[in-house]
């Protein structure tokens, strides 16, 4: 085709000539040169009996892209893993897999993997042998004992965690810092205090109304794929109603029947006002609540709540109406409700709704005790990183082992980790990529990718049937000088002469032994070999959890009369299914996948309400400077109605200084400029409470947005009706 053919002409040709006309160009020289003899094609020396080149073999494993622990099926062809899909046997994801999971192959084949051990010699990192690196660690660690050693990791579980504990205990330390900027730590604390279970099982599928305060349960909250499966059941007839209350529209918010923008920090007021409206119809609902809670509910009538939250009074009435009419319901709280100085109290106010609506025991079920406490996930939030910084200030640490977490990137700059880490004598990074934290380490140990390593995983959120997820290598390691995490831990334990590990040649042998030692009740009469083979084949091992029960105790909580933030604008560091907290910024597929709301690719942006944009005199594409007391970032504006006028949202994930060619120097990291406010009761970072100033810096910069229009411009490309009209004309779904 000549390049004079524009889109319209093309469509005309298609219309007139049919397919033939457009296919006439098929004999043109191809744009992809397939030069003969430029590539090698390697045969087997001796063919594997069950391998047919070109035909995929499937292996089960467990996804490591986020802490949800979904089961995987990897398609392997000629010894290379090519495609990942969900494992239908896993009760967590039931055969589905999100985009981050699908992109796991690009973490594995990433060209920026660390391929050799490195040690700091002088100012830079120098390639060394494994022997030298491990001997160095061992000799340094000989002088370290007690709490002067610490682990600093992301969520870890299973037998890897057992080995980490064994090493920590051998040193005599009790310190294990777990850091996740995307977390639900405040809710876990509230759940523990009110229900006696930090992570109860939530039944979205049983609920007829879901009221979510910033919990992006389809995108980034707890176990997104599992939630999405249950959400599908929730939306089947009779169709459940979803109300989402948050300052910035999330993926879940975009799916809601009613999306309510509230002023940042006022989610608790909205919840109490809903309780107020419910009790106005049915005063008995508040029976049994502590007097203080009753007073708080009575404090917020609709008018007052509407003034404070900025939400329309009718939305509060409507939400209360749905909750009163349809039972059971489910009320959940996420990051934008938790991330305030009064985060705990806000979540308690939200959980109060579950109590008065009788959802405890209905849509909120006890998770039961996992029978192997040593394998249970060590989860965390942001409190640990602040404790860690304090420990560094007090020079309490001589050696820190990092795994998974990248706190230099995912903690506020004002915490000063970059400088404070210099006070630690030995920093070891078990890492696949040179991220901001790994770069500061003294010893870098190159790890196998998730597709090359062995492991067991117990997700923090166990969905119904509890399972141990089994991670097995989908292919041979790509690089000779990388090693498995468990293998290295065994080496370190042996070098430290910790008794009990000499017999294990490698982590595989250790796992085999650990599985043989599991109780017979799990094996169904199978031999140890059969049991192991079937566990590998299925990828999950079901375990029975003890029953457990939930309490419905309303904790003592309080809210400021008007909890709204006082400054002009509140910074919302939003999370998205894709780049997550920044750990996937080096995966081109996920950089290229447009954000679910703004459709921006390969960049950061600042989401802003049209009214705010008018006030500041900016349009989509203009660059603005966002300044907090702790620094400033610059990003292009994206004007969108799905945000409260008092909020400026900048997504997390970009702004890496290093971390490979796809991530480096791209966009900005809003976490950098967060204020070190904390939630008064849990000590977690109040990440949604940073006040910022905004100023325009440049006009009309380039900004790559997929799609380009948020509306259908009246063309009715996709016809829609409102829920009200649907119910009037079609009856209740």
């Amino acid at each position: 085709m000549s390049n004079k053919v524009n889109r319209r002409d093309f469509l005309k040709i298609m219309g007139w000539g049919g397919v033939g006309a457009t296919l006439a160009g098929c004999d043109m020289p191809t744009t992809v040169t397939l030069e003969e003899g430029k590539e090698e094609v390697t045969s087997y020396m001796i063919p594997e009996e069950y391998v047919i080149p070109g035909v995929g073999v499937y292996y089960a494993s467990t996804c490591q892209q986020c802490p949800a622990g979904c089961g995987l099926h990897g398609r392997v062809r000629e010894g290379r893993v090519l495609k990942l899909e969900g494992n239908p046997e896993s009760p967590i994801n039931r055969g589905r897999l999100c985009q981050m999971g699908q992109a796991g192959v690009q973490a594995h084949y990433n060209p920026d993997r660390i391929t050799r051990p490195m040690m700091r010699k002088g100012s830079g990192l120098t390639t060394v042998s494994w022997d030298e690196a491990l001997t160095h660690i061992q000799s340094k660690m000989e002088g370290v004992s007690g709490d002067r050693f610490a682990w600093f990791t992301d969520t870890v579980s299973g037998h890897q965690a057992v080995l980490m504990d064994a090493y920590r205990e051998a040193v005599g330390s009790s310190r294990h810092y777990v850091h996740e900027i995307i977390n639900n730590s405040v809710s876990r604390q509230v759940n523990q205090d009110m229900l006696g279970d930090p992570q109860p099982r939530l039944r979205f599928d049983k609920a007829r109304v879901v009221l979510s305060f910033g919990a992006d349960f389809l995108g980034t909250w707890q176990s997104p794929v599992h939630n999405a499966v249950e959400y599908a059941a929730f939306r089947e007839a009779p169709r459940g109603v979803l109300v989402q209350v948050e300052p910035k529209m999330t993926l879940t918010g975009a799916n809601a029947d009613l999306w309510v923008a509230v002023r940042p920090g006022t989610e608790g007021v909205f919840a109490l006002a809903v309780a107020n409206a419910l009790s106005a119809k049915n005063p008995a609902m508040l029976d049994g609540l502590p007097d203080k809670a009753k007073q708080l509910v009575r404090r917020y009538d609709i008018k007052k709540a509407s003034r404070i939250t900025g939400a329309a009074g009718e939305h509060i009435v409507k939400t209360a109406g749905w909750l009163a009419e349809r039972s059971p319901s489910l009320v959940v709280a996420g990051a934008s409700a938790e991330g305030h100085g009064h985060g705990y109290d806000t979540v308690a106010a939200i959980m109060l709704l579950n109590v008065i609506l009788g959802n405890i025991g209905e849509t909120i079920e006890a998770s039961g005790a996992f029978p192997f406490p040593q394998l249970v996930a060590r989860t965390g939030g942001t409190r640990d990183v602040m404790d860690f910084a304090k420990a560094l200030d007090n020079k309490e640490l001589d050696a820190v082992f990092f795994r998974g977490a990248n706190p230099v990137f995912t903690a506020p700059e004002s915490l000063g980790l970059r400088d404070k880490l210099g006070k630690v004598g030995l920093k070891v990074a078990f890492s696949q990529f040179e991220d901001e934290t790994t770069r500061l380490a003294d010893v870098v140990l190159p790890m196998y990718s998730a597709m090359e390593d062995w492991g067991t995983h117990v997700a923090a959120y166990q969905a119904g049937q509890a399972v141990i997820g089994i991670q097995q290598p989908l292919m041979q390691p790509l690089y000779e000088q990388t090693r498995g995490f468990g293998d290295v831990m065994l080496s370190l334990l042996k070098m430290r002469k910790v008794p009990g590990y000499d017999g294990y040649a490698d982590y595989y042998a250790y796992l085999r032994d650990a599985f043989s030692a599991l109780p017979d009740s799990l094996k169904n009469g199978a031999s140890n070999d059969e049991f192991w083979a079937s566990a590998l084949q299925r990828g999950v091992l079901e375990v029975a959890t003890g029953g457990g029960s939930l309490t419905a105790k309303v904790v003592d909580f309080d809210l400021p009369e008007n909890p709204a933030s006082e400054g002009a604008y509140t910074l919302v560091p939003s999370a998205r299914l894709g780049l997550w907290d920044g750990r996937h910024a080096n995966i081109p597929w996920l950089q290229e996948a447009p954000d679910q709301i703004s459709k921006v690719v390969w960049d950061s942006w600042a989401e802003m309400h049209p009214r705010t944009a008018r006030k500041l005199g900016v349009k989509t594409g203009d660059a603005i400077k966002i300044t907090s007391a702790n620094g400033s970032i610059e990003a292009n504006v994206y004007v969108y109605k799905g945000i409260h006028p008092d909020a400026i949202a900048v997504p997390m994930g970009q702004g890496h200084e290093t971390y490979g060619r796809f991530a480096k120097g791209r966009g900005v990291n809003p976490v950098k400029i967060l204020a070190l406010n904390t939630d008064g009761k849990t000590g977690e970072l109040a990440h949604h409470s940073t006040q910022v100033q905004v100023s325009k810096t440049r006009v009309r910069d380039s900004m790559v947005i997929f799609g380009g229009s948020e509306t259908q411009l009246g063309r009715k490309i996709v016809a829609t009706v409102t829920a009200d009209v649907y119910e009037r004309t079609e009856g209740e779904a």
Partner: protein, 212 residues
């Protein structure tokens, strides 16, 4: 032959013309049609592949030097070894597969062991390294081509087709490899080439059949 009609010559001309007009012309037409059909049938029979219209198109491929100058002619032509004996995956997979080195050694640990090419092969075998063969035929990654389906259509599910003649089906896209030493690309293997063949043989014609 008209004598048998025993008619005056004038009549002959006249009646003959009528005969030609009324009977012979249409007959000749039908004869021609039958001859054409038979002729083309004969052409088909010649190719040895029934129910198939071979694809049309040529390409002048580069010489691709291989680590060992493998003589396809000695194997497939002189010794009449079936293509699928070595390219054993063609019938089961999207790729035909390069034979595993163990297959070469199956014969060449005893046959022609003194020839320089076999010595070189033996060297690879003993070093436990497969020869680094160079790829001659390929399609882009966005094209899904499967040998399995094509062999099913033209060989195994093709009535009257002799499996011994499979080389002629291979030749549709690979040319007469049995007359070559190392393979040369002699067919264009571009979309027009595929499309015309699919048209002629009523193969699937949806975009996503190949671009999926």
């Amino acid at each position: 032959m008209f004598n048998t009609l025993q008619l005056p010559s004038g009549h002959i001309t006249h009646r003959g013309a009528r005969f030609v007009n009324r009977f012979l012309t249409p007959s000749l037409f039908w004869l021609a049609v039958i001859a054409l059909v038979l002729g083309s049938g004969a052409a088909r029979a010649e190719s040895g592949v029934p129910n198939a219209v071979p694809p049309v198109g040529t390409h002048k491929g580069d010489d691709v030097p291989q680590p060992i100058e493998f003589p396809h002619n000695t194997h497939a032509d002189v010794n009449q070894i079936n293509c699928m004996y070595c390219h054993t995956y063609a019938r089961r997979s999207k790729v035909a597969g390069i034979p595993p080195t163990s297959k070469c050694m199956g014969c060449h640990s005893v046959i022609a062991t003194d020839k320089p090419r076999i010595k070189k092969l033996t060297e690879y075998w003993e070093n436990k390294e497969p020869p680094p063969w160079r790829k001659v035929h390929d399609v882009p990654d966005y094209v899904h081509f499967t040998h399995e389906k094509h062999l099913k259509r033209f060989v195994f599910d093709n009535e009257g087709m002799q499996v011994e003649n499979v080389a002629e089906v291979c030749a549709f896209c690979h040319g007469e490899v049995k007359k070559m030493t190392v393979a040369h690309k002699v067919k264009p293997l571009n979309m027009g080439f595929c499309r015309r063949c699919h048209e002629a043989n009523e193969g699937p014609f949806d975009c996503w059949k190949c671009h999926k």
